[in-house]
């Protein structure tokens, strides 16, 4: 839950991270298993987009972290 005092900071941070090209959450999830297993099979450009998505979307980052922990990959 975002604390009221920080809402504008959060928007500012989101806008600061905004790019023209971003992965959406479904696209991130589509490649999540390959990222967690070791990103060797993924295109480096896709890995970079996924890293960006991790920074801007805490829900997807939480999902990745739980999956990695569950599989002993963290």
């Amino acid at each position: 839950m975002i604390q009221p005092k920080g809402a504008r900071d959060v928007v500012g941070t989101l806008l600061d991270l905004t790019r023209d090209e971003e992965l959406d959450c479904d696209q991130f999830h589509e490649h999540l298993a390959a990222l967690v297993d070791g990103s060797g099979s993924l295109d480096p450009r896709l890995v970079e987009l996924m890293e960006h998505h991790r920074r801007i979307c805490p829900e997807c980052e939480e999902e990745r972290a739980i999956l990695a922990r569950a599989l002993g990959c963290d």
Partner: protein, 223 residues
């Protein structure tokens, strides 16, 4: 002996090379498919137990692992083979479990409540010491949210700021999570352009003492 990716897919397929449609094939196919489903359910149950700890009860683990096997079979044709099959299935299970936990956590809060909380958060008075530039940026941001965004974008952004996870906003508005993300991505681009039109940047909104490392909606499910 562990199954290869190809074996998992073959064993979980229906009798005619299709994902299991519930129609009985021959007895051999049924035995193979049931064994693979049972093995996968146990693997996913263990994965969820390790990932979520005490947040999931035994009954949750039973239900979610069973649901996840069905979802995995439904999506079998989309498995590309660029990870281990069990990692791919585990990603489906973790997604399902997070969805269930977020749904429970926010069951009592409505979309309207979240939108109002987001609005209130944005209008909260700044601290006693605040740079004039930052206050200007905040005013322009509030104006941009009301004028530059569509009502759908505005409500989604405010609900997000009000603490409702994207997964829940998507569920309650009948959208896919990816579609909601795209809507908010477009909203962010519009807000940034509006700020820039007023000679401001995103950095002007951020109080670097507290805001730089603060992500949106920090983890609320992970212990």
């Amino acid at each position: 002996m562990p199954r290869s990716n190809e074996q998992w897919v073959a064993d979980l397929r229906g009798p005619h090379g299709e994902p299991d449609d519930g129609v009985d094939g021959d007895a051999h196919d049924d035995v193979r498919r049931n064994a693979a489903s049972s093995d996968l359910r146990e693997i996913l149950r263990g994965t969820l137990a390790r990932g979520f700890g005490r947040q999931l009860s035994d009954a949750d683990l039973d239900d979610l692992s069973q649901q996840s096997v069905l979802r995995t079979i439904e999506r079998l044709e989309s498995f590309r083979g660029d990870s281990r099959f069990t990692t791919w299935a585990a990603s489906i299970a973790v997604n399902a479990a997070l969805g269930e936990l977020r749904r429970r956590r926010h069951a009592e809060s409505s979309l309207d409540d979240a939108i109002a909380a987001g609005r209130s958060a944005l209008e909260q008075a700044p601290g006693a010491v605040v740079r004039l530039q930052r206050e200007d940026a905040a005013r322009v941001l509030r104006q941009a949210i009301d004028e530059a965004l569509t009502p759908t974008q505005r409500d989604a952004l405010l609900a997000e700021l009000g603490g409702l996870p994207l997964m829940e906003i998507a569920r309650r508005t009948g959208r896919k999570r990816g579609a909601l993300y795209k809507l908010l991505h477009d909203a962010r681009k519009r807000l940034r352009a509006h700020l820039e039109g007023h000679g401001l940047t995103a950095a002007d909104l951020i109080d670097y003492d507290q805001g730089r490392d603060q992500g949106r909606g920090a983890s609320e499910v992970t212990p």
